[in-house]
Symmetry: C2
Subunit: 137 residues, 2 copies
């Protein structure tokens, strides 16, 4: 059901400092850097050669899940997005098996991915985000 | 420099329970399940269609970094392995730039990957493992 590792999402307190580190250490510059007011986030995306993406997120304000994550954990990995062929079809399959979902239908993420999350109670506490495969990625 | 997401490594307290969950929820069975006494670990590997791998690790005893991780964090993502073309050449490049390394030469991991880790002090606390790309994977 999970076809690949679509992206790794890091949440960091200081996006400039992280971007500077990626350039200095790994000689990598973000392909996109965007502010998404609706999601309360600023995001840098690094598309990797073999298809996966690094997503680095920083909160725009305190009243966001990102700020809450930083208060609890500090900088770190927030979730992994796993590629599936069809998010809504996957959600239906999961629901028919009694799996609890956080999102019952596919959502459009800030960066434009079609995503949905499973309730971590159904996955022993592991956060699994489903992301629709896209030939452009 | 980082060419792709080679694997996501989860550490869990109960490997049987995690394997059962992956089968029940995602209809996925591990491709390999192995005990590595030298590393104090039991590991299940799920090779994903698009090339990445899920590695699920459980400690064999308390005196392991895996048990230490569980005491601090509980079940969760331990690290991401990023694919590079040549681990030793990458380490040399990094060292020449003053990046601090945890491993100064490539190591052979329990599951047989050629790996090395960067000192998280050089990456703003993010744990980055380098893994040599392998056409078989």
């Amino acid at each position: 059901m999970l076809k690949g590792i679509h992206h790794v999402a890091y949440v960091v307190a200081d996006l400039d400092r992280t971007i500077e580190m990626f350039e200095r250490v790994f000689a990598m510059k973000p392909d996109r850097r965007e502010v998404h007011e609706t999601w309360g986030q600023e995001v840098a995306l690094y598309a990797l050669e073999s298809g996966g993406t690094l997503e680095v997120i920083t909160p725009l304000h305190e009243n966001t899940p990102w700020a809450e994550f930083l208060r609890r954990h500090g900088d770190g990995i927030h979730h992994i997005g796993y590629a599936v062929d069809d998010v809504n079809a996957t959600l239906e399959q999961l629901e028919s098996k009694g799996v609890r979902l956080k999102d019952r239908r596919a959502q459009l993420s800030g960066v434009g991915w079609t995503v949905a999350s499973i309730d971590p109670e159904s996955t022993n506490g592991l956060w699994v985000q489903l992301v629709e495969r896209d030939r452009r990625e």
